[in-house]
Symmetry: C2
């Protein structure tokens, strides 16, 4: 509401991101063009970040695999960057045919300056000089998502998975946009994956910290990197559907005064906002009760247990130095209490399945030096994460979570907590049951079932 | 042969151009990569200009038509330039997987500076600094054909039809290449289209002037613009098949001392060269007999006749000023002798069928001012052009041509001549017969029929 009334006093700058499924064919592109024009007609300046059409990236990857077993990374980026060039030019044409000036810009033309890491480049600077000029001339600006440019090598780079989200957020930060709208094929961020929990409810507002925890624990709608970038630069995100005009989910930074005003209670502005959404007053009752934003599950991880580690100082450091050298992304770490009789302990950690064999090999090579007894590898685990503000200060949350799982007969194998998250590991084949019972136990079920669209946002 | 012995003394720089049919799929790209690597292994520096894969350009044009009835030209160039980006990256990957360093460059990275005419930009400068650096580092250089960059607008441009040939020739000129090889799906330039004249023979050497006349009169293998650029900058072309290692057709500039030595006879070095090819000495007999390079036919033109033009000075100028304002490309012009009784004459000219209605409309609008009686439009004509050096000084050529057509019962409707060409217009449905009888009459038939590959080179 504040957003809308602001537009009466000054021109808003809105960045919109459309993923591959939103521009999959000519009809979709025309539909998106109309939507963009509506935003422009409402008096806003509009900058659009767009992904490659539908399956284009997969088709290009397939071609690359056919001509070279291990394609050169520089050439792979050159190849993949063709995808957004096609979608953005078509989108600009479609907008122009609706009578509005539109101009498309590649990553380098848009000033997306990155390091030289082909395939997963990091943004080092954004210099949107040409975009600002085009906006000043009244044009709608279309920018290729996912791609950048390195100043030293003068080569094209790509940002890796979820790169178009990152492009949109980086443009919003550099252009000081009022909001960055992420269009996708679902209505917003849900309290759980609606394909797994039909009664999941759409979250109206969520803090960037909570969103980060959800994304890190398996929520696929937004990429962690884009959320991190948004949090660091104070960009407000609006995740919404490209298939309807419903309000989606606002992902905001609670330390920012705008657009939701100063925090009225310490610790959890999200609580107050959500309480307000629910038509409640921001009463003390609402503040004391921890507010759960959502539950996410993840089946992509495996667990490695290092068995029989001597319980002497420095051993954990030694093990995780070996693991770190492989470049693996460790998630949860649990060390059991040492058995007094043996002086040995077990250390377990989770990591992406794709990195499992690499880490096992590295650890085996150092077995005699570290002095552990054995390695166990388990790729049949599932992870469930409950995310919400003020969780750790309220012991009742853990108790309610563990009770719900116990009553459903689901065994907990690992536990890990943060300020706003509790994660548990269970058997993989029980994770969907776990998700549903936890969602219900915390009162997250909506009155009606959500409508789920096909496909996934990119 | 001189080419080959030169390589023993210095490193040659060879520019190779591969059209869309040569890189239509992954297998073709791998084949082309092997061929490029062979050239590199022979000790040459290699720069490759490559077109978009197979039907990519048509598919992109089709998509553009679906999203916008009249796509914006700037965006169309952005769109189409994605095509070469895909093919060149794949080709570079394929070469790298064969163990050779390869780097792909877009038009702008390669320094192809053009004017700002989207869709048919003209090259104004070539600054291949990055290409020279890459060559000095031992890399094989792959350049996107067809595309350029305007310095003022900082926008991507495309060169229009045959643009990849032009890219290759412009790179060869700027890098002072020893030869520019144009790879296609036929064995070279033929004395007539082998699909129409099975006994057409491959031409071993042809001057750029003769090639220009053949291209302007319907030979499709090379584009006029690339031949003109090659002639102006002294670039030697070698048109050859990408399906075998046969020598193709050398298109050379007879005023250059290299690579065929100084002219030994005035007027027609091609004659001597062709006589030498045939195992003959460059005798006087060979010089006196005009040497026919080839015969081309063209069914893409129409004829407009302006009937009853007052035969007073300035009327032709008035008519062709009106025509010029439409931007139409006039080819042949014939003015009949005025009938003494009426003081009126007829003026006929040919032009591409696609421009016919535009010119008719322009002329009709000025009918009363010019004072002609009527306009006739005829799109059922065919044009045949006989090309060869020293033709106009030898009356026997015209006589032989007209006799051959007369004996075959083919009526001549218009005649036009240049220093090295005679063109005639006939009914469209007789043009293929005309081609065959003329080819035979001038002794151009080969002993064996040519092998014709499917598709057309781009």
């Amino acid at each position: 509401m504040q957003q809308r009334s602001k537009q009466e006093y000054h021109v808003s700058l809105i960045v919109q991101k459309f993923g591959g499924s939103s521009v999959a064919d000519a009809e979709s592109i025309k539909r998106v063009a109309k939507r963009i024009v509506e935003t422009r007609k409402a008096g806003n300046e509009v900058v659009v970040a767009v992904s490659a059409m539908g399956d284009t990236t997969d088709e290009l990857l397939d071609l690359a695999g056919q001509v070279a077993p291990i394609p050169a990374p520089r050439e792979m980026d050159m190849l993949l960057s063709a995808g957004e060039r096609i979608s953005m030019a078509l989108l600009a044409m479609a907008i122009e045919s609706l009578g509005h000036d539109a101009r498309s810009f590649t990553g380098s033309q848009a000033g997306m300056i990155t390091d030289a890491t082909h395939g997963s480049a990091r943004i080092v600077d954004v210099t949107p000089v040409r975009l600002r000029e085009a906006l000043d001339e009244g044009a709608i600006v279309i920018v290729a998502g996912f791609q950048g440019f390195n100043r030293d090598t003068k080569d094209i780079t790509t940002l890796g998975r979820g790169g178009s989200d990152t492009t949109a957020v980086a443009l919003a930060a550099a252009l000081k946009a009022d909001v960055c709208e992420i269009y996708t094929d679902v209505d917003g961020i849900f309290s759980a994956d609606p394909r797994l929990v039909p009664k999941a409810h759409k979250i109206d507002r969520i803090t960037s910290e909570e969103m980060l925890e959800l994304a890190a624990n398996g929520a696929k709608v937004l990429y962690i990197r884009a959320v991190e970038y948004a949090r660091r630069h104070g960009v407000t995100l609006h995740v919404r559907s490209s298939f309807n005009n419903n309000e989606g989910t606002i992902v905001y930074n609670p330390t920012d005064a705008e657009p939701f005003g100063p925090a009225t209670v310490a610790g959890s502005q999200a609580q107050a906002a959500r309480a307000a959404d629910a038509g409640q007053e921001g009463s003390e009752g609402a503040v004391e009760e921890p507010m759960i934003a959502g539950v996410a599950t993840d089946l992509s991880e495996a667990k490695i247990t290092v068995v029989g580690v001597p319980d002497i100082p420095g051993k954990a450091a030694q093990i995780f130095t070996i693991v770190a050298k492989t470049g693996a992304n460790i998630d949860m770490i649990v060390q059991n209490v040492s058995a007094a009789s043996t002086g040995l302990t077990d250390i377990s950690f989770t990591l992406p399945k794709s990195e499992g064999q690499l880490v096992l090999t590295a650890l085996r090579a150092e077995q005699s030096d570290v002095g552990f007894t054995a390695l166990q590898y388990d790729d049949q685990i599932g992870k469930l994460a409950l995310v919400g503000a003020g969780m750790r200060t309220n012991a009742g949350v853990s108790a309610k979570l563990f009770t719900a799982l116990f009553e459903a007969g689901i065994n907990i194998e690992m536990i890990s907590t943060s300020e706003i998250r509790i994660s548990v590991v269970t058997r993989a084949d029980t994770i969907n049951d776990a998700l549903r019972v936890v969602h219900t136990a915390f009162g997250l079920d909506a009155a009606e079932e959500a409508v789920v669209h096909a496909g996934t946002g990119r």
